[in-house]
Subunit: 222 residues, 2 copies
C-alpha cells in the first residue's frame, strides 16, 4: 500500500497570489528586473510557470502588485516600532528614525526591489500612481510629527518644507548605505538624522529669508 503522494497541493487564490508576490520580491532583489522572469518567479515559489498567468493578468501586473505589497509591508514594519514609543511627537519621530535605520530596513535586497520600482515609475503610469500614493503617505506622517514638535516648541517653520527635507535626507542615507555599506555605518546614519531633529528643535531650520534665483551656468548634460 504506497501512500498516495499528491503531485501538487491546491491553495486558495489569495494565498497563492501572496506566495507569488513574495517570490517576485525575492527575485527582484537577487536578480534585478531583468532576471525576474515568469519562470524564475515560478521556480522561486515552487510552482509551475503557467500558474503565474492564472493568478495575474501578466508579468506586468505581478510586478505592480509586488510594489503595492512591499510598500504596505514597509509601512507596517515602521508603524510597529512606533507603538512601543511614547505617544509624543518627538518621541514618535525619533523612534521612526531609529526604525528607518534598523537592520531589517537596511537590507540591500529591499533596496533592490525599491530601485526596480523607481525605474518603472518613470515609464509606467500604473507604477507612477502607486509611487505617488506611497510617498505622499510617508511625507504626511513625517509632517505630522514635525508640526507637533513645532507647535510644542512654539517654532515658526514651514512643516511641508521641513518634511520634504527630512524625507530626502532619510531616503538619501538609506539609498547610499544600502548601495555601499562600507562608506558609513548605520549608527552614523542614525546620528545624522537625529542631529537634523536637534537643529529643527533649535529653531534654526527654515529661518533664512528668500534667496534670489541663481544664474544658470551649467552646460547641458545627459
Amino acid at each position: 500500500m504506497a501512500e498516495k503522494e499528491p503531485k501538487f497541493t491546491r491553495d486558495l487564490p489569495e494565498s497563492r497570489r501572496r506566495q507569488l508576490i513574495e517570490a517576485t520580491a525575492r527575485s527582484l532583489a537577487r536578480h534585478g528586473l531583468d532576471g525576474t522572469t515568469v519562470r524564475v518567479v515560478a521556480a522561486e515559489a515552487g510552482v509551475s510557470p503557467g500558474l503565474v498567468r492564472h493568478h495575474f493578468a501578466g508579468m506586468h501586473d505581478l510586478i505592480a502588485e509586488t510594489y503595492r505589497w512591499t510598500g504596505k509591508e514597509v509601512e507596517k514594519g515602521l508603524r510597529a516600532a512606533l507603538t512601543a514609543a511614547p505617544d509624543h511627537p518627538e518621541a514618535q519621530l525619533r523612534a521612526f528614525l531609529d526604525a528607518s535605520f534598523s537592520t531589517p530596513m537596511l537590507n540591500p535586497d529591499l533596496l533592490g526591489v525599491w530601485l526596480t520600482f523607481w525605474s518603472l515609475t518613470r515609464t509606467d503610469p500604473v507604477i507612477h500612481e502607486i509611487h505617488g500614493k506611497v510617498y505622499a503617505d510617508y511625507r504626511k506622517r513625517l509632517q505630522r510629527y514635525i508640526s507637533g514638535i513645532a507647535e510644542e516648541k512654539k517654532l515658526s517653520l514651514d512643516p511641508r518644507i521641513a518634511a520634504l527635507a527630512l524625507t530626502a535626507l532619510l531616503d538619501g542615507l538609506w539609498l547610499e548605505h544600502c548601495l555601499d555599506p562600507s562608506t558609513f555605518t548605520a549608527s552614523e546614519a542614525r546620528q545624522i538624522a537625529h542631529d537634523w531633529v536637534d537643529n529643527l528643535k533649535a529653531g534654526r531650520f527654515m529661518a533664512g529669508a528668500k534667496r534670489e534665483e541663481p544664474i544658470p551656468a551649467v552646460a547641458k548634460v545627459g
Copy 2:
C-alpha cells in the same frame, strides 16, 4: 550624372564609440534597462546592430562604459558652474548647490540612467567599482568645501559626517524631484540645500553628544 550616395559613412572608432554610448544613455532614460537592447541602441545611433559588437565586447560592456561616461559628464557639468563662482569655499559650495538643481541636472532622463546603474551596482562587480569611484569623488569635493568653511568660521565639526549628510540630502532631493516634479519645485529644493549650509555656518551641525543605541523593535521586512 547621379551623385554617388554612400550607403554609410565611416567614422573613427573613438567617435563611433561615443555615439553608441550616448545612444545607450538616451535609451536607458527612455526605455529603461529592459528596453535597452542591441537593436534599439543601434537604431537610436542610426547604425546597424552588428556595429555594437564590433566596438564593444558586448551589451554588458557598453552599459558599463555608459556609466563611466555619464559620471564624467555630470562631473564636468558641475565643475563648469564653479569656474564662474569666486574662489572661496562657501561661494564654491553654494554655486555647486545651485548647479545641482539647475535644469540640465533635474532632467528625469538623467535619473533614468542613474537608476539603472544603481540597480546594477548591487549585482555587477564592475559597475560596483565604478560606483564607488564616482561617489568617492563626489563626497571628497563636498568635504573639501565644508572643511574650508569650518576652518574659516572656526567651527568644530566632523567634515566627513557633514559631507555624508549633505550628499544624502542632495541625492534624496534630486531623486525625489526627478521621480515626481509635482511634489516640490526646484527652487524649494535649492532653498532646503542652502538652509542646510546656513545651519552648518551657525555651528549647530554635529553639535550633539553621542546617542545611545536604540532598541531594535522592528519586524522583518522584505
